[in-house]
């Protein structure tokens, strides 16, 4: 009874060698000069010609493995499709987060007003623009700095999904955002000085 198999790739200076490992599913695209040989069922495939490998393997030594040749046009089509599908990868971007130990500071009197519009950049995703005139009140503290919240605008960070966010400030620099639902911190890239009025 035929068994399916994997191709395992090992690179050699002038050609690729594919060893067929019994009992696994065969998948993948390989390069093919298409010499199939070896009693223990291996294929030596030289560089340059693509194949889409799909076939079955008899578990007995000496079995033949069948490859389907893929022409250049088909290969180009496959690449174009891959690129298009890559462009449609819906959850490619996610916010980089790290756990944060939030300590609430309900008695804090630290308030300030943002003196000018401000854009805090993130390494991945993006954050709301912070609006001039918004009043910020300290609500807590995390390792990266003091955590401030405003009721004057919605503040979020966003990639594929959106997260409510509080601003984290340390020595007059916006260090990033604390995400209160996820209880994580996402860093500004780079940290940016903020101009405030008391």
């Amino acid at each position: 009874m035929p068994a399916t198999c994997w191709l395992r790739k090992t690179e050699y200076p002038k050609h690729f060698r594919y060893e067929i490992i019994p009992s696994y599913s065969l998948r993948g695209v390989a390069f093919d000069g298409r010499v199939v040989q070896y009693s223990n069922v291996s294929a030596v495939l030289s560089r340059g010609t693509a194949i889409a490998g799909c076939g079955t393997l008899c578990p007995n030594a000496g079995a033949t493995v069948h490859f389907r040749n893929v022409g250049r046009r088909q290969l180009c089509s496959a690449v174009v499709c891959a690129v298009l599908l890559g462009g449609c990868a819906f959850d490619v971007i996610s916010i980089r987060q790290m756990p944060a130990n939030f300590q609430s500071t309900p008695d804090s009197q630290q308030n300030w007003t943002l003196a000018q519009d401000m854009k805090v950049k993130l390494r991945q995703g993006f954050a709301s623009n912070l609006k001039k005139g918004t009043v910020w009140k300290q609500v807590g503290h995390i390792e990266q700095g003091d955590v401030f919240r405003t009721g004057d605008q919605v503040v979020t960070v966003e990639a594929s999904n959106q997260y409510e966010a509080y601003l984290v400030v340390n020595n007059g620099m916006a260090m990033g955002f604390y995400l209160p639902v996820e209880k994580t911190f996402t860093a500004a890239d780079p940290p940016i000085a903020i101009k405030t009025t008391p």
Binding site: F90, Y163, E164
Partner: protein
């Protein structure tokens, strides 16, 4: 090729009926304001609304912490009252889209369901909206809650 008058009238009628069928019914936000119930103590309210009629056939369920609370009906809105806390509101078409938010006692939050193109079907993305902006957008939308 000329269409007969009867054919044209029939086509126009059919389109009108189709569009009428798509129209969201129910009282508008403005009409509901006087009769909407007050928010319970220790709770807040989350309004969920969709302004766009784009992709009208696409009306996925809206879930709050995994529990269905309504549908993404074009030009419709609904609200849910929940105890103060943190929540995740999500929709699912060919992808899941989520917004996470906090809710304080007596607070009102607004989440708009934005429509965007997808690979096979559109995406419905929930986004937090400033109160002032949301209150303008929601006025003429129809209540679709239960």
């Amino acid at each position: 090729m000329k269409l007969g008058r009867f054919t044209r009238l029939t086509a126009v009628g059919a389109i009108a009926l189709f569009l009428a069928g798509c129209a969201t019914s129910g009282p508008t936000f403005m009409e509901m304001q006087t009769s909407s119930k007050p928010i319970a103590a220790n709770s807040g309210r989350i309004y969920v609304y969709r302004t766009s009629a784009l992709g009208a056939a696409l009306q996925p369920s809206v879930k709050l912490d995994g529990m269905t609370v309504g549908d993404a009906v074009p030009e419709g809105y609904f609200f849910v009252d929940r105890p103060a806390g943190t929540y995740k509101l999500s929709t699912a078409t060919e992808v899941d889209r989520t917004v996470s938010l906090t809710l304080n006692s007596g607070e009102v939050r607004y989440v708009r369901l934005d429509v965007s193109f997808g690979f096979f079907v559109g995406h419905i993305s929930p986004v937090l909206v400033d109160t002032a902006e949301a209150e303008k957008e929601i006025q003429k939308l129809h209540f679709t809650g239960k």
